[in-house]
Symmetry: C2
Subunit: 249 residues, 2 copies
């Protein structure tokens, strides 16, 4: 990623990506590098945030070349690359997920049914099972005042709220027990931000649902935006969901 590190280019934009978001120069450089590697593999089509679908093949690589690009732009040292591999169109079909922390170089990986690893060593979610002891990532960015208020019971009911600004990497922190849950119910996340880190956290023991406890069924395209709650284990997950819904009772 040395091509990304030039300070003067950090905030440069180069148009609008397939998802409709503004594309940073850094996003483009990262995507070009990643697509350049993937297109040499026969039978792989790629779904990426800036380029949309590229190539043809029965195997789909769902990639986010630079998750946390706003952090990168500001110099906050917390951003990553995500790659997930699937032959189907459901979360349960994802067979491989890899998330690379581009600051530390740490590689988080998972193969479906084979557990999760960080730099080759097995990782597990934390054993924290009481909400009041839990450190919880909550993404509030661009939330309306109503959503912030709705999250009041959650934020006041847990030990600490953090938000580091790169959701895929924060899900990997959940996977290794650095946080105990992660909540993003803004309805803004896309499959490219999520697929690889989902498998890493799932294989490490995390429990996922939407904020009402229903199974996640995201579409594998750039149009569908969704919400999710992830916790280190079942008991904590039920408490986190109760706190997310507390205002509505």
């Amino acid at each position: 990623m040395s091509g990304l590190a030039k300070q003067g280019d950090r905030g440069r934009t180069v148009g609008t990506g397939a998802s409709g978001d503004t594309t940073l120069y850094a996003d483009k450089v990262a995507e070009d590098a990643l697509l350049g590697s993937l297109k040499e593999i026969d039978g792989v089509r790629v779904l990426s945030e800036e380029a949309g679908i590229v190539g043809e093949g029965h195997v789909l690589a769902i990639v986010d070349p630079l998750d946390g690009s706003s952090n990168f732009e500001k110099g906050i040292p917390f951003y990553c690359t995500s790659v997930a591999i699937t032959e189907g169109d459901q979360l349960g079909d994802i067979t491989v997920g890899v998330v690379r922390d581009l600051v530390t170089g740490d590689a988080y990986s998972a193969v479906r049914g084979g557990g999760a690893r960080k730099n080759g060593h097995a990782i597990r979610t934390s054993s924290v099972d009481v909400a009041s002891s839990a450190v919880v990532g909550v993404d509030l960015s661009r939330s309306g005042s109503d959503l912030v208020s709705r999250l009041g019971p959650l934020i006041s009911g847990v030990k600490r709220q953090v938000h580091l600004g790169a959701n895929a990497l924060e899900l990997c922190f959940l996977a290794e027990g650095r946080t105990d849950a992660f909540v993003d119910i803004r309805g803004q996340i896309r499959i490219t931000d999520f697929a690889a880190a989902y498998l890493v956290a799932k294989e490490a023991g995390a429990v996922f649902s939407d904020e009402r406890g229903s199974e996640l069924k995201p579409s594998f395209d750039l149009e569908h935006r969704f919400s999710f709650v992830a916790s280190g284990g079942e008991s904590l997950h039920r408490q986190i969901l109760d706190l997310c819904l507390a205002r509505g009772r």
Copy 2:
């Protein structure tokens, strides 16, 4: 800090500090190391989170050996040591502030009237002067639902909310323009968490006040807890204060 890095000791507690908070083993190790260095200097008394006032002398060192100890405990790589030097009892009397990022080794420093530096190079706050473009650190941890709701207009009115979990280091991020403002109006911060980073951010161009725009006048002891708002410049500061007070209108 190699003595701190043993995973098994991360969550170990060793009683209650002078401030009334639970003392982590890591806090104690860090404090012992820092006090050991400072006590060799004649005429310096030390105010520290765990030990309270130690020694005698007309020069006061205000120290937080391990800010972000909850991050340290969980393995989140974001914590620091702070040391401020003063001969008076007002914020304006602080002559030297040093904050050391214990993960990267980066040293943020300032001498009153001499500007702020990171690893010896001059740093300045960002030039972002519109709230809707601002990345804002907001500490919501252990906030009641009412405070979270009050912060709704702020969080929805800025570009992104982040909270990395070590307020002194986040103020240094503000000082170098990695964030554009920082808001902690929980009434929980103490001078030990604040003094060194205050001088770094102030000398880098940051503007400070309480949430109503009044001058900060914290007592240099462990009993006084206060709130603050810090912004990269005056214009942004007025907008951030307006957003903090929007609910009360």
